[in-house]
């Protein structure tokens, strides 16, 4: 089986178009996120979250009335998994589960109320977890930059990080925007954080594979125009990219469709992140390196690229 026989697609010829597209998208998503705000899940916001199940579906409004009348504040109700499962959230933490369960039993005497899970997070833990997430991502980025600078040239490391930041910012803001628009239920919680970190790993992984090929080709085709070289490397790894992304997406889509409410958010973030990661490895990471050489180092890519990449002239 073979999809491409010696593909020769000019990926980088249109790089400016894609860079502009990416920047526009990032600005738009970041703006929307700043305006609409981020909806933190219980893990980061603190409070109490109770998942309940009734025998038959009931109206969320009735649940809200029942729970609010029990004297709980900041009550939010969401459907959760099946039709008859609900997620009730409140700011209070002291004996909220008991209050909720009593209020619901009173309001729906014909329903059997089952408490599926209870999460109580103190406000301190919430903010701590937020800081933890921030540091985890920052530290991961720094460590990778160091590793890549060591394995490749420094500018390649920066290129990979630029692509990575692109992916993380876009994935995060797209997820937040999807949640704010009410398209999917995606609050920022611990499993979303895990997914984001996986995206971090994946994004770099993808970029590294193309850079690895550029490094190899640079030796093989000494003196070749860098844009051509990058294009060649992307084309040579295209088959791998399609197959790996394909299988990973296959796995993630089955997770998204069949994985239940707990895995769904995780899978969706990964799907967005992996598509973006693949795109950015091709258009952002290499485009950044090209831009750096052309505009900052003022190197004529036709002739002088060896001064930056490869062996420095004596």
């Amino acid at each position: 089986m073979r999809y491409f026989k010696n593909p020769n697609i000019d990926f980088l010829g249109k790089r400016k178009l894609f860079v502009i597209l990416s920047i526009t998208l990032i600005i738009a998503c970041v703006l929307i996120t700043l305006i609409e705000g981020v909806e933190y899940g219980i893990d980061f916001a603190g409070g109490t979250e109770v998942a309940v199940q009734t025998t038959n579906p009931v109206a969320t409004d009735q649940i809200r009335t029942a729970v609010s009348s029990a004297g709980l504040t900041g009550v939010e109700i969401k459907s959760f998994g099946e039709d008859n499962q609900y997620l009730i959230r409140t700011r209070e933490s002291a004996n909220a589960p008991e209050l909720i369960s009593n209020a619901l039993t009173k309001a729906f005497p014909n329903e059997k109320i089952t408490i599926l899970k209870v999460d109580k997070i103190g406000p301190k833990i919430g903010s701590e977890l937020r800081m933890q997430a921030f540091w985890a991502i920052l530290l991961a980025v720094i460590v990778m930059l160091i590793y890549l600078a060591f394995r490749f040239e420094f500018i390649f490391g920066v290129g990979a990080i630029v692509a990575l930041v692109h992916d993380v910012v876009l994935t995060f803001t797209i997820a937040v925007t999807l949640n704010n628009l009410g398209i999917v239920n995606l609050e920022v919680n611990l499993s979303i954080l895990a997914a984001m970190l996986t995206v971090v790993g994946y994004s770099v992984n993808d970029t590294v594979i193309i850079f690895d090929r550029i490094r190899e080709n640079k030796e093989r085709h000494k003196g070749m125009n860098f844009i051509k070289l990058a294009n060649l490397s992307i084309n040579e790894t295209l088959s791998r990219t399609v197959n790996t992304v394909g299988t990973t997406l296959l796995a993630l889509f089955s997770l998204y469709i069949l994985g239940g409410p707990v895995l769904q958010g995780f899978a969706l973030i990964m799907i967005i992140g992996i598509i973006l990661g693949t795109y950015s490895s091709i258009y952002i990471a290499s485009a950044f390196v090209i831009w750096y050489m052309e505009k900052i180092k003022k190197i004529d890519l036709e002739t002088g690229f060896r001064e930056v990449i490869g062996v420095k002239p004596e």
């Binding site: 089986m1 073979r2 998942a51 589960p97 008991e98 408490i115 599926l116 899970k117 209870v118 999460d119 109580k120 997070i121 103190g122 406000p123 301190k124 833990i125 903010s127 933890q132 540091w135 985890a136 530290l139 991961a140 460590v143 990778m144 590793y147 394995r151 611990l190 499993s191 954080l193 895990a194 997914a195 970190l197 996986t198 790993g201 770099v204 992984n205 993808d206 590294v208 594979i209 690895d212 190899e216 040579e236 088959s239 791998r240 197959n243 790996t244 394909g246 299988t247 990973t248 296959l250 796995a251 993630l252 089955s254 997770l255 069949l258 994985g259 239940g260 707990v262 895995l263 995780f266």
Partner: protein
């Protein structure tokens, strides 16, 4: 054959290792199914000897095997099987507060503590640092030093640094001790396979599978279990203090200061109303208790007026309602509860009114309705009020309402006591505790025995306080306050006043495990019901299974026989991850499953990289053998670089994350190691073994090319 022996080993050994390590998991699930069957049979049998026999038989046949299998199997996380996840934190502020010497604590110190508590609840900074900063800002300008509050033994060597060092030490010790105490409590409570871990410097993380009674568990975990024996000092002294408190408060109300908040006039009004209400309630209560007294003692019925007769009644001549209202206004504090005088043994208790400061010598009883307790405590905590209570005394309320009144009148009335602050004896002397029933009343009790030192002291204390009452105080609530009838030697004592046998059992557990040196509080609590656990494990497994099947089929579709080998390597990789997880005693959580799926992706990627390279080399016209060599060689750097960067992410997550995130990170890291091993070593070994007989072609799904 000999040349290939090493390669065969490379393939066979990991397979065997995975099988061996995962077998207990399989065995445990099989045996548990058998156990369930046996239990069902036993239930069916009904007859107790039959059902016992069935269970005995099961235990004899499989008991040991089940136990070892359970110990070695892959454990499922709470999100997959239901249970309770709790993070507790040692209350360092409280510990600092309690380390200070009782008699030295003043307003300045209380200020510092209050501010520290507020800041510590919203900050990550160690509470001791916050305390020091606040102390320097608030107490030091007022001429106070730490030496004023803390005792470090030898005065000559005392220094502030020493105090901080010793506080630091007790904070460190408190967490270890708390962990130990909580472990013992959990063990005795009977949670199977609990996971108790210290997290950072002052947190304890608990995973309690199968625990569904959260309330009981919460009280079991949070109880400090500080047991103290204190002398009851319900004497004239405290009644006089109450009298003074009345005077102070009523004057404040008259001056319009009320409870010293924003709007004095409305406060005054509400206070008037409130106290009037309470007065009516308490008079009702008084009536009730009087009735009770009448029932219990028929010799004397004159219980109406108490000390009213002996002094001049200032409300004489007023209509009864007006007199009552006026009385309530003048006595905002003592109308919250009722006071009785005990004239002597076997005599009726007499209600006491605070109309004059002349009170008879002797013993008193205080009873307070449940509704008034909140206000009562608020008032007692006010500094100006607290200053009127004698310094060596404290007011402690009963743990449970008076059962007789509750049964007869259905009103919850609590006794409270003035206790000598310094305990006579503490729970440290308790060597064992046992829940039982009082043979005469059939009430639940906890019997305690003391060690030799404790028994000696107890004999001395009881001997010195004959016919006096000693309160048994647990976590600042009085469980009982019996009168010492005779000197108790042998170190036995008992606690009564529990609501039910269950509470007695919890008390037995906490007393046996010992007291916590510092209070702990629950800061994070997650409970997963088993039904959600079932749902999520089912959908998680289904999704993973479908994902794996799709990936396997795709690989065979694209890479032919090579794809099949890659599939084998990937499955072996997942099995290895699971078996190492089982061997390390880790737990498989939902994020863990996600990590495994990511592993599948990475492992497939590694194989894809290799096969693509081999196919490229074939395109360049290499022979199959050299293409394979080159393919593996050239793909190596890309595989290494991409896996190492992802491994870093995993390591950072594992290091910085907690709970579920760590589960994800651990499987991810194990998966990457597995990927490197299986994709680079195992896949290659299999390909070379398959080509051992001098084959010159191999199906990597490459289009057929004409051989030349």
């Amino acid at each position: 054959m000999k040349r290939y022996f090493g390669k065969i080993l490379l393939v066979v050994v990991p397979v065997i290792a995975a099988l061996v390590l995962l077998y207990p998991t399989y065995q445990a699930s099989q045996l548990e199914q058998k156990e369930r069957q046996a239990i069902a049979q036993a239930k069916k049998a009904g007859n107790s000897s039959d059902s016992l026999e069935i269970m005995e038989k099961f235990k004899k046949q499989y008991g040991e095997a089940l136990k070892t299998a359970k110990a070695r199997r892959l454990k499922l996380g709470l999100d997959l099987r239901g249970g309770m996840y709790v993070t507790m934190e040692v209350d360092v502020v409280k510990l600092i507060e309690e380390s200070a010497q009782n008699e030295t604590i003043d307003e300045i110190f209380k200020d510092v503590i209050a501010k520290t508590r507020k800041e510590a609840s919203a900050s990550d900074e160690p509470a001791l640092n916050i305390f020091q900063r606040n102390f320097n800002n608030i107490a030091r300008p007022q001429g106070k030093s730490l030496l004023n509050y803390f005792d470090v033994g030898d005065v000559r060597e005392a220094s502030e640094e020493k105090i901080i060092a010793s506080l630091n030490e007790s904070i460190d010790k408190a967490i270890d001790q708390a962990q130990e105490v909580i472990r013992q409590r959990i063990d005795q409570y009977g949670v199977s396979e609990p996971n108790i871990q210290k997290q950072g410097t002052r947190r304890i993380m608990l995973e309690l599978p199968g625990v569904t009674n959260q309330d009981e568990m919460r009280s079991l975990l949070q109880t400090t279990a500080r047991l103290e024996f204190k002398l009851v000092r319900n004497y004239k002294e405290i009644v006089q203090a109450f009298y003074k408190i009345d005077k102070l408060l009523s004057e404040q109300i008259k001056r319009g200061k009320g409870f010293a908040t924003a709007d004095p006039t409305t406060m005054l009004d509400t206070l008037k109303k409130d106290t009037a209400n309470v007065a009516i309630k308490t008079t009702e209560a008084k009536k009730d208790t009087t009735k009770l007294a009448q029932k219990s003692d028929t010799t004397k019925v004159d219980t109406t007026k108490g000390n009213q007769d002996t002094v001049k009644d200032p409300y004489a001549g007023l209509p009864p309602e007006e007199a009552q209202r006026r009385y309530a206004l003048d006595h905002p504090f003592t109308t919250l509860f009722s006071t009785f005088f005990v004239p002597g043994k076997n005599q009726n208790i007499i209600p006491i009114y605070y109309t004059s400061d002349q009170f008879p010598e002797g013993e008193y009883i205080f009873r307070i309705p449940k509704d008034s307790i909140g206000k009562f405590q608020v008032l007692l905590n006010r500094p100006d009020v607290a200053a009127l209570i004698p310094a060596d005394l404290e007011i402690v309320i009963d743990a449970k309402p008076d059962t007789r009144i509750k049964q007869n009148q259905n009103i919850e009335i609590y006794d409270f006591y003035a206790l000598k602050k310094e305990p006579e004896l503490t729970g440290e002397v308790i060597s064992s505790a046992r829940a039982s029933f009082d043979p005469t009343t059939n009430q639940p009790i906890v019997l305690m025995s003391m060690n030799t030192d404790g028994a000696e002291s107890w004999a001395r204390i009881t001997g010195a306080n004959l016919q006096k009452r000693i309160a048994i105080v647990l976590d600042n609530r009085v469980y009982s306050a019996p009168t010492v009838q005779s000197k108790i030697t042998g170190g036995n004592s008992q606690i009564t006043g529990m609501a039910n046998a269950e509470e007695a059992r919890l008390l037995e557990i906490v007393l046996n495990a010992g007291a916590l040196k510092a209070p702990v509080q629950i800061i994070e609590e997650r409970v997963v019901g088993p039904s959600l656990g079932d749902d999520s494990i089912r959908s998680g497994l289904n999704a993973s299974l479908v994902a794996v099947i799709l990936v396997v089929l795709y690989m065979i579709f694209y890479y032919g026989l090579g794809g099949a080998i890659a599939d084998f390597a990937v499955i072996l990789n997942v099995s290895l991850v699971l078996s190492v997880l089982a061997a390390l005693g880790g737990t498989l959580t939902l994020p863990g499953i996600a990590g495994i799926i990511l592993t599948v992706g990475m492992a497939v990627d590694a194989n894809v990289l290799i096969f693509e390279r081999i196919r490229e080399e074939l395109d360049h016209g290499r022979s199959m053998r050299s293409a394979i060599d080159e393919g593996f060689r050239k793909a190596l750097s890309a595989i290494m670089d991409s896996n190492i960067t992802t491994f870093f992410t995993g390591a950072i997550l594992y290091y910085l994350g907690t709970g579920p995130i760590q589960g994800f990170a651990l499987t991810l890291m194990l998966g990457i190691l597995g990927t490197l091993f299986t994709a680079i070593v195992v896949t290659r070994a299999i390909i070379e073994l398959l080509m051992a007989k001098g084959a010159t072609s191999f199906d990597f799904g490459q289009p057929k090319i004409k051989s030349n």
